[in-house]
């Protein structure tokens, strides 16, 4: 931090020099504060931009890729969906309820300001050990409640998500939220100020001191001071957000909204300078017109305040009244705060006198930082570990795996979310690997978020590609063809070359996977500085992916529950001894290390195509992909959700010389478990054969126990009711609810 002319900025000496050079003069305090906010890592991507370039962003259905508030994908018949991901990690770590709730508020605005209606939310959550840590339980409980209270109230269903637990998130929990929007191509609006003389209207909440320096706070590590550091926490107001959503969509329908931007990180400074920069125009801003919460706020504070529930509208000159009548209907506060100009400058005035004048280009384009990257020492060290000894009672190991909070049912979470409002949710949380929404044109959209910090820690390249692979497998499992994804890359301090190396590896993994599969990245977010100075701990590298897929016909929608007694169980894909970062090593043996699952891109592609092909030919009764907890857990989940048992012969699982625990619990990618019936089995197997992938019939559905044999020897036999009990009640028990 630099103290300059009595204000505190995060800019480095070099950046200040650069700012002076670009301006050709000394910036004043207000200008410096504006540059400081916009040049923060959070707003400018100054460390990550050069690395992110590797990600492919084009695809036949991509209308808008990265660079705007949300990516836009064509879903046919004039309809588009929009997708964005955000995190609210630092705010949630100190105020889990308000932090998570305002995170939802933020990502909703990103979707709304593309001109689309938010129709679904997802949440990807990471906490410490909730079995042992009161603090982690506290964070978990209040984060979930924050998401629930906000999402439910605005009437946007939270349809999917994931939760992972790991000690590294003890202080620094990760709260990622994803929003999906739906609209028509013709109604899309961009965050641009393109036409001089258009009016700039600020709508929604009043501007106050809350969240001042939010972006610079997010661009720094958590310290003991963090608690007091914030001038005030942000207070969520979902009711106002609901009114803003309806008013905005009505305003767009008038045809006179020519630009739209949500005010999030960096407040008015970031919002206005980005709109001016993108539209190639300038904006004259009159600060006295901004509706304020408290009287004695300084211009600097107004310009960088991150008060919630605010949107900026650019309205075609002459139609202000028509649009403002809509705001009046919803009794939303608004003020006309400025005009678009052709000056290319963001000019800030107070009662007519000029306080700041900055070329929009300067503010919106921070100098890039090229960071050093060095492979961390630990990576090589932990690759080699001694195999743990084989547990004698595998039934109890499986039960314990099912109760592992990262694996156990998340119904405690999703039952707190209204996941059905909107009457679109066809496959609901818990029913399939991804959630499926119906679209107005008779097609369906599948969506899922995934992450795996344990794999990514051991092998950032394969681990990150693996998150994307898991997300795609989840889509394929419900019958969807993957369309596009957004990513959120969460790491420690980028100034640490070892951290930056893991970041680069992670992006390389995502890029290689998406190029190989042909899946475009349409947006994302980077969050650095996820470190905790109190415990001196950085989080494990934690990319999170949200992917969407398309299902053309209703008959193609598949779910994961076993359906009928006597049906065949088939496994696709070879199981390898890739135990590094597996829940089996970590949760059962307390062991971090080994070889994390790697992806064979050709096999991955062939397997996904074969599964989709079989689904479309009507040959498949149930599908579940194999991920956390391996084959044993995947089968148990299919039994529990189907209310029916199964028996499986492990010697039939395609593999080379694996120990039994490896067969059961390895988390190798590119594997699916399929239920199919007598009538379909031959045709099904011939598709797999043609695809040249490993497969085998491993058992049958039926009974009320889950049994694993190896040849004739019984290894595991667990009644369905016990499976259910371990899996369903684990999280409520951790949370002190004795159900």
């Amino acid at each position: 931090m630099v103290a300059l002319n009595s204000i505190l900025v995060e800019l480095t000496e070099d950046e200040i020099k650069e700012a002076k050079r670009m301006l050709g003069r000394e910036p004043n305090n207000l200008e410096l504060a504006m540059i400081d906010a916009e040049w923060s890592e959070h707003c400018s991507y100054k460390s990550s931009k050069p690395v992110l370039k590797q990600l492919p962003t084009k695809g036949p259905r991509v209308i808008i890729g990265p660079g705007y508030d949300a990516g836009v994908v064509d879903v046919g018949d004039g309809y588009v969906v929009t997708l964005h991901i955000e995190s609210h990690n630092h705010p949630s770590a100190i105020d889990p309820y308000g932090g998570a709730a305002t995170g939802i508020g933020g990502v909703l605005r990103d979707i709304l300001c593309m001109g689309t209606r938010p129709i679904a939310l997802l949440d990807s959550l990471r906490f410490g050990n909730i079995e042992e840590s009161t603090h982690s339980r506290w964070l978990f409980k209040h984060v979930v409640r924050g998401i629930s209270d906000y999402g439910n109230c605005v009437g946007v269903p939270t349809v999917a998500g994931e939760v992972e637990f790991d000690d590294c998130f003890e202080r620094n929990c990760l709260v990622d939220v994803v929003c999906l929007g739906l609209g028509k191509i013709k109604d899309l609006v961009l965050a641009e100020a393109k036409y001089p003389n258009d009016s700039v209207i600020l709508v929604g909440g009043s501007t106050g001191r809350d969240g001042i320096h939010g972006v610079t706070f997010a661009s720094r590590v958590l310290t003991e001071k963090s608690d007091e550091e914030r001038s005030a926490v942000q207070i969520p107001d979902p009711f106002m957000k609901k009114l803003i959503i309806e008013a905005t969509l009505e305003a767009i329908a008038t045809g006179h909204v020519r630009g739209l931007k949500d005010l999030g990180g960096g407040g008015l400074t970031c919002g206005l300078s980005e709109m001016a920069d993108k539209g190639g125009c300038g904006i004259d801003l009159e600060l006295s017109r901004v509706h304020l919460r408290e009287k004695d706020i300084s211009p600097i504070e107004i310009m960088i305040s991150e008060s919630q529930e605010r949107m900026v509208f650019i309205i075609e000159q002459g139609y202000e009244k028509e649009v403002c009548e809509i705001f009046d209907k919803y009794e939303l506060p608004y003020s006309i705060i400025g005009k678009v100009t052709d000056s290319g400058k963001l000019i800030v005035k107070m009662n007519g006198s000029e306080l700041a004048s900055l070329p929009a280009k300067v503010v919106a384009n921070a100098p890039i930082i090229y960071r050093k990257a060095v492979e961390p020492d630990y990576i090589k060290k932990i690759r080699i570990v001694e195999k743990p000894s084989l547990p004698s009672n595998l039934s109890s190991v499986l039960l314990k795996m099912l109760s592992c909070p990262s694996i156990a049912s998340k119904s405690w979470v999703y039952e707190q979310y209204d996941h059905e409002v909107g009457v679109r949710t066809v496959v609901k949380p818990g029913q399939g690997d991804a959630s499926v929404l119906r679209l107005p044109n008779g097609t369906f959209l599948a969506i899922k978020a995934d992450g795996n910090s344990k794999h990514c820690y051991i092998d950032p390249y394969n681990g990150s590609a693996g998150c994307l692979s898991e997300a795609c497998r989840n889509l394929v499992s419900v019958g969807a063809e993957p369309l596009a994804f957004v990513d959120h890359l969460q790491f420690g301090n980028p100034g640490n070359p070892e951290v930056f190396w893991t970041f680069k590896e992670s992006v390389r993994g995502l890029a290689d996977y998406s190029k190989a599969i042909g899946l475009p990245c349409i947006g994302g977010k980077v969050s650095f500085y996820n470190e905790d100075k109190v415990k001196n701990m950085a989080i494990k590298p934690s990319p999170v992916i949200a992917a969407i897929g398309r299902i053309e016909k209703q008959e193609w929608i598949t779910t994961m529950n076993f359906k009928h007694y006597g049906n065949h169980i088939v496994i696709l894909g070879e199981t390898k001894p890739e135990m590094g970062g597996s829940e089996y090593y970590e949760y059962i043996h307390g062991l971090t290390g080994g070889i994390a699952p790697r992806i064979d891109f050709d096999k991955e592609k062939a397997t996904m195509h074969a599964v989709l092909d079989a689904i479309r030919k009507g040959l498949v009764k149930a599908v579940h992909d194999v991920s956390k907890g391996g084959i044993a857990v995947a089968l148990a989940e299919m039994c529990i959700s189907g209310g029916i048992g199964a028996s499986v012969d492990c010697s039939k699982i395609p593999a080379h010389d694996l120990r039994i625990d490896e067969l059961l619990f390895s988390e190798t990618h590119s594997r699916f478990i399929i239920e199919t019936d007598d009538a379909s089995i031959d045709e099904f197997l011939s598709i797999m054969k043609k695809a040249s992938i490993a497969y085998n019939i491993i058992g049958k559905v039926g009974g009320d126990t889950l049994k694993f044999n190896k040849n004739k020897e019984e290894l595991i036999s667990i009644p369905l009711s016990d499976l259910k009990d371990s899996w369903l009640n684990s999280i409520p028990k951790c949370m002190g609810e004795n159900e």
Binding site: I94, D95, P96, I235, F239
Partner: protein, 90 residues
């Protein structure tokens, strides 16, 4: 020697920090009271009240015990809320 124990009523009030908004209070004021014709109400803020009946030797012990349990059970979050504790007598 056994000391005398009395039962004290301790009241705990938890509210958003004064510098933060209270959207609930704002809505009650704007959409219920003012629209209902009560124009002399200037402001409304909402809070949560916990009444705890505790056994203690004296006021001070009662108050200390409740302070401690409010912190330990995280009945409020000091980052977002203020918490005030008052012993209201036996």
């Amino acid at each position: 020697m056994v000391k005398d124990m009395k039962t004290y009523l301790v009241k705990v009030v938890i509210e958003n920090k004064a510098s933060a908004r209270d959207p609930e209070g704002e809505t009650i004021l704007k959409d219920l009271l003012i629209k209902g014709g009560y124009k002399k109400v200037m402001a409304v803020r909402t809070a949560k009240l916990l009444k705890m009946w505790v056994e203690a030797e004296d006021d001070k012990e009662a108050k200390d015990m409740v302070s401690k349990l409010c912190d330990e059970l995280r009945i409020y979050n000091p980052v977002a809320h203020t918490c005030s504790i008052n012993v209201e007598g036996e």
